[in-house]
Symmetry: C2
Subunit: 214 residues, 2 copies
Amino acid sequence: MSELQPITVYVHEAGPNPYKVIIAAEELSVPYKTIVVKDPKEEWFAAINPNGRVPAIVDPNTNITLWESGAIVEYLVETYDKQGKLTVSDVASKWQLKQYLHFQMSGQGPYYGQAMWFHTHEDIPVAKQRYNEQIVRVVEVLDNILKGKEYLVGDKFTYADLAFIPWNRVVEGHPILKANVWDKYEVEKKYPNYVAWQRRLVARPSVEQAYKGW
Amino acid sequence: MSELQPITVYVHEAGPNPYKVIIAAEELSVPYKTIVVKDPKEEWFAAINPNGRVPAIVDPNTNITLWESGAIVEYLVETYDKQGKLTVSDVASKWQLKQYLHFQMSGQGPYYGQAMWFHTHEDIPVAKQRYNEQIVRVVEVLDNILKGKEYLVGDKFTYADLAFIPWNRVVEGHPILKANVWDKYEVEKKYPNYVAWQRRLVARPSVEQAYKGW
């Protein structure tokens, strides 16, 4: 796809969601460049995303501006994954991919994000416990789904798996969630299907490349 | 579509998300029947949705079982909206619909849900205020987007608007959020584009029909 112009991906110094877009672009060999947005509430960026959040993209090949990481991943797949590398072909499985993407967007990201928020603001034990337990609940649901399976849908890596990577990494890799969730709730010992899946996902070259930084 | 068998929609006594599915089915004249799930954590229901949440559907016409309200709405539209009643035709606008659906799923639902949770559990003023303010932030974002517009995308009612209806209704209609957000933050006075949009959405016959109860 060397004829493509690079897609601009607006990212942040921290925060997991832009990585979904970078990993997808790496997987599909779509050229991109990153712009680090210091303050996504600034007026110039509100013109790109009135919700004031990253990621957002501008694709000069199609003149499309888009925000919300779930929508961007779907867009990259539908526009640039002509060989179906990150998708499946049968109709029922295709809807499973959408289902898991929405589960990640509504059921993983927001709860994990609230856990981080309450661990880094005023000390409210009830709230911390609530969100720690929500993370463990999501991990347990994924562990059950992954029983006897290597990936969520269709025995192959898809964009559904991909979407879970950034927050999965935070729970094991960020000191706060490592101590308060990963270690405290013995994730590694209790949820082996989940852990094996996570190891499989982060071992992909696309993920290694994405986390080299921007 | 009288040749269609009714889709089974699993719902709950309370909770806004199943209404998205019911409203979409009403809009598209897709036959359905509802089953009220007393406890979505029960084993029989875990076989349908291992995440233990409603809505979920089983469509006997396609043999597809699906959960996550965002995915179900997309499924109903792609499968049964052959005339494009709830969609738009140009590619850029089509991606806007996905973007707003993901915004609703990840940016409206979870925060509004956390507000309700903290207002109905132990009294933690910091948490209540956080989520009240998150609701107002989302309302303000929508109000800005809706400036000079009747609907989110393409000058017509689409599934993107539809997805926001149930939680919009709760903020104005549930006594807790009515007092703590709608009245306290003067939503009606300060966010006229948003309020006019909401009035337009809830006036649809499909919405009236959906809220007659199951």
